[in-house]
C-alpha cells in the first residue's frame, strides 16, 4: 500500500465547482487514470480518499490536498510520478497537481493537522474602507462575531484566529487585495466571516488560498513536509 498526499491548484472557471463536486471528480479521475485504489470494506465499498479543509465555492487555490491509498500489490514499483502525470492529464481544466509526498506510518488527517491558511482576499470596496477596517482589526483586543452552528447562535471571539493581516501592493482586477493568515483550529475562520466581522458591508470579490500551514513547535510546514512525508522532488514547480 502506498499512501500519497497530493497538492493541487484550482483556478479559472472550475473555481465554481464545490468541494463536494471536486471530491467526485477526483474519484472518477483516479479511475480513468487507472490508479489502483484501496477500497473500504463493507456493504458499499468506497475508494480510500481523504479530503482536506473545504474550499469555499468560487475560491481559487494553490494548495488543495488529498490523501489517497494506492494498492501496489500487483505492481511493487508503481511509479508515483507517472501516476501524477496521468492524473494531471485527466483532471478538468483548472486543476493541476503541483506537489506530492509519499507518507509513511500513521499520519494524522489533513483536517486535524493543518493549523492555519494564508488567503489572498480581493475585496469590492475601496482603499479607504479597507484601511479603516484593517485599523479596527489590528487595534481591537477581541473581535466578537455571532455565527450559526447546528441551528444555534454561537458567540465567538475570532481575534485569536487572526494570525496576521496586511494589504498587498498588487491589485487583482483593480481590486484591493488583503493577505490574511487565519487559524483553522479548533474551527476554521472563513475569510467571508472575517471580512464581515467588523465591517458588515465588506464583501469579497475573489478568494485565493495561497498556503496551508502545519505548525509543529517552532516550525511552519507545508502538509507535504510533515513528519513521515517524503517529498517527490521532481514534481516541484510543475505548472
Amino acid at each position: 500500500m502506498i499512501h500519497l498526499r497530493i497538492r493541487s491548484s484550482k483556478a479559472g472557471k472550475v473555481r465554481f465547482a464545490s468541494h463536494r463536486d471536486i471530491a467526485k471528480v477526483w474519484e472518477r479521475t483516479l479511475r480513468i487514470s487507472n490508479v489502483p485504489m484501496i477500497y473500504s470494506q463493507g456493504f458499499s465499498p468506497r475508494p480510500k480518499i481523504a479530503y482536506g479543509l473545504a474550499l469555499p465555492t468560487g475560491s481559487e487555490s494553490d494548495c488543495e490536498y488529498i490523501d489517497i491509498q494506492i494498492d501496489n500489490s500487483e505492481n511493487e514499483f508503481l511509479n508515483v510520478e507517472e501516476v501524477c502525470a496521468s492524473l494531471n492529464e485527466n483532471l478538468p481544466i483548472g486543476i493541476k497537481i503541483n506537489g506530492v509526498s509519499i507518507m509513511e506510518g500513521k499520519v494524522p488527517s489533513l483536517q486535524q493537522t493543518v493549523t492555519s491558511c494564508i488567503w489572498d482576499i480581493a475585496v469590492n470596496e475601496d482603499n479607504t474602507t479597507v484601511d479603516s477596517w484593517l485599523d479596527t482589526i489590528n487595534t481591537s483586543s477581541e473581535i466578537v462575531i455571532v455565527r450559526e452552528r447546528k441551528g444555534k447562535k454561537v458567540v465567538d471571539d475570532i481575534k485569536p484566529l487572526v494570525h496576521s493581516v496586511r494589504k498587498k501592493v498588487k491589485k487583482e482586477d483593480g481590486r484591493v487585495v488583503v493577505e490574511a493568515e487565519l487559524g483553522t483550529q479548533p474551527r476554521s475562520l472563513r475569510p467571508s466571516e472575517f471580512l464581515r466581522s467588523v465591517e458588515p458591508s465588506l464583501t469579497e470579490y475573489k478568494l485565493r488560498r495561497r498556503k496551508q500551514i502545519v505548525e509543529e513547535g517552532a516550525k511552519r510546514l507545508d502538509p507535504l513536509e510533515v513528519a513521515g512525508a517524503t517529498r517527490m522532488r521532481t514534481l516541484i514547480g510543475a505548472s
Partner: protein, 654 residues
Amino acid sequence: MTSLWSQIEELLLHVEKPARYIGLERGAQHPPHDAQNVAWLLTYPDVYEVGFPNQGLQILYEIINEMPIGEAERAYAPWVDLEQVLREKQIPLFSVDTHRPAHEFDVIAFNLSSELVYTNVLNCIDLAGIPLRSHERSKNDPLVAAGGHCTYNPEPLAAFVDFFVLGDGEEVVSELTSAIHLWKTSKDETKTRNDLLALLSEIEGVYVPALYSSTLDANGNQVLNPIDESTPNLIEKRTIVDLEDWPYPKNQLVPITEVVHDRLNVEVFRGCTRGCRFCQAGMITRPVHERSLDQVRTMVTSGIKRTGYDQVALTSLSTADFSHIEKAVAAVGDDPMSCGQTSISLPSLRVDAFTVGIAATIQGGKRSGLTFAPEAGTWRMRQVINKLITEEDLYGAVESAFSQGWRRVKLYFLIGLPTETDEDTLGIAELAKNCVAIGKQHTKNASVTVSVGGFVPKPFTPFQWFGQNTTEELQRKVNLLKDATSSMRGVQLKWHDPKATVIEGVLSRGDRALSDLLEEVWKSGGTFQEWSEHFNIDRWLDAMAKLDLSVEWYAYRHRERSDPLPWDHLDAGLYKDFLWQEWRDALEEVGLEDCRWTPCYDCGACTGYGLDHVVASTSPPVGGSQGTWQNLEKGSDAPQLLTIRKKKEVEAKV
C-alpha cells in the same frame, strides 16, 4: 464570436450552484469558431442538472462537431436567480462550452421532452435577445429549431419555432447543416430568410410551420394547409435504418457537478413494439432496432474507460426485451476496468423474474431500490392499455427482489385511463398491499412506494381520441388511494399534481391558438412549470379565460374519428386506421401481441418505409406472460362506455 465569461464570472458568486454554468465537463468540446461554419446551440429548456444527461442532445453534439462545416455547443435554461441578474445586466443566454452569446449561433435548437417546458423555450428565445415570434425575425437572427418527442404535436409552439424535426436526428442534422452551410456561403443577397426556410422544408422530416395556414372546421377543429403548392402536405418522421451505424455518444460527457442519471448510458435498442396503448414513445419510435452485442460491449468498455463511471445503464424502452440482455449484463461485470466495482442499472425494467435475478447478481452493494411499472391496478385495466402483465408476474418479480436483499420497491401507475372504474383505481392499493406482504416474508422493513400519475393522452397513440379525466376526477382518485393506503403499513403513496396533468393535457393535443396562451403565461412569469414550486395553475386558467380558450375543448372532450387532429399533417409512420382499430380494441379489452415475434399486423411503421425490425433473436424472452405465451384472453365486458359528457356536466367545468 465573443466570450461573455468575464461578465458572467462576477455573477456566479451570487447564484445557487454556479457549477451549472461553467462547462468543463469531460468530453466537452470547444470548437474553434469559423464564420463560414454552421454553428448550432443545442439547448435544453430546463435547468442544467436535468438537461445535461439528455442523450439526444449529446448525440447531436458529437455528430455536428465531427462535421468539418459544423460546430455545436450546449446551453441550458439558467435558473431563476441567474436569469434575474442576466436580465439586469443585459447579458444574453450563453453556451456553457465557450460562453458565447446565443444570438451569435446560426441555429438555436431545443430539445422538447415534455409540454411543461414550453414556456421555458419562449424564455430562452427571449434571453437570447432575438424576436420571440418566427415572423418577427430577420435574416441575421439565428434559426430557432426544435426536436424531441413533443414535436409530434408542435402546434402550440408553431409561432415561435422556425422549423421542427420529426424522429431520429442522427441523419437529418447533417443534411440540415449542409443545407444551411450552402445557403450561408452562397453570396446571393436577394435570398431571404423565408427562402432558407422553404429550402429546409424540402428535407424529409423537417416541418416549417410558417409554410402552412390554419383554418377551423365547422366544429372548431384546426385544419392546416400548405400556403404554397410546392410545400409537402404530409411531413414524415425520420427513422434511422440501423442503430449499429450510429454508435453515439462515443464520448459521453461526464459532468463536474451533480446531475440526474449520472452514469454511463448505453442505448441497447431503439423502438418498442410491446404496444402499450398509452405510450407515445413506443408508438413513434417503431420499429425495433437493436445494437449487436459486440457493439454494446465495445461501448460499455470504452465508455467505462473514458468516463470513470462506476454505474452503467443499458437503456431502451424495455431493456429486458434486448435479445442479448444476459450477455450484455455480464459484459459490464466482466469489464477489466470495473474491478468488480461497477454496478448496472436497467431502467424500464419489466416485471420479469429473469431480469431481477440478473440485476441482483450485478447490482452488488448498491441496492437503492427497484422500480417496476405495472401501470394499472387490475388485469382488466391492463388489457385495455395492452400492458399484459399478470398479477403473478408482478408478485414473482417482487418476491425475487425482496429475496435478493432489496428492501424497497417502487411501483408506477397511471390513473385516469380510459374505462377506469374505482375498482381499477383501488386495485392499485391492493397490489401494493400484496407486494408489502410478500416483502415482509423477507425483511420486516419491506416497503413499497406507489407512484401515481394522471394519464395524459398523446398524439399518435390509440388514446389520442380519449377525453382525459378532469382535475377533480383525478384528485378524487388520488383521494381514494390516499384513504385506501393510509392504514396500509409499508405502503407510501406519491402522486403527480393533477393540476399540472391537466395543463400537460391541454398542450399535448393543442393547436396554434395556444401560442398566445404560452406567451401570456410566460409574460406573467410562468417559467420552470415542471417544478412544483413554480407551477401555478391559476396562471394558466387566467390566461385561458382571457384568451377565451377552454380546457374542456382541449383536454376533456372525447374526439370523434371524423375530427381533424392538429397533427394530421404529420406522419409518425402509423396508419390512422391502425390507431383507431387499437382504440376500439382497447375499449373492448382486446389485446395485441408484440410483432417482433409474431406476424406483422401492419401498423405502418415498417411497411410504409421499407424498414424492418433489427432484432437478433427471433424468439421472445422466456418467462412471464410477457414471454412466449401472451395472454390475450378478453377479461370481461367493458364496464363503462365512453360517451360525450352531458352538457350540464360540461358547463359546470367551464
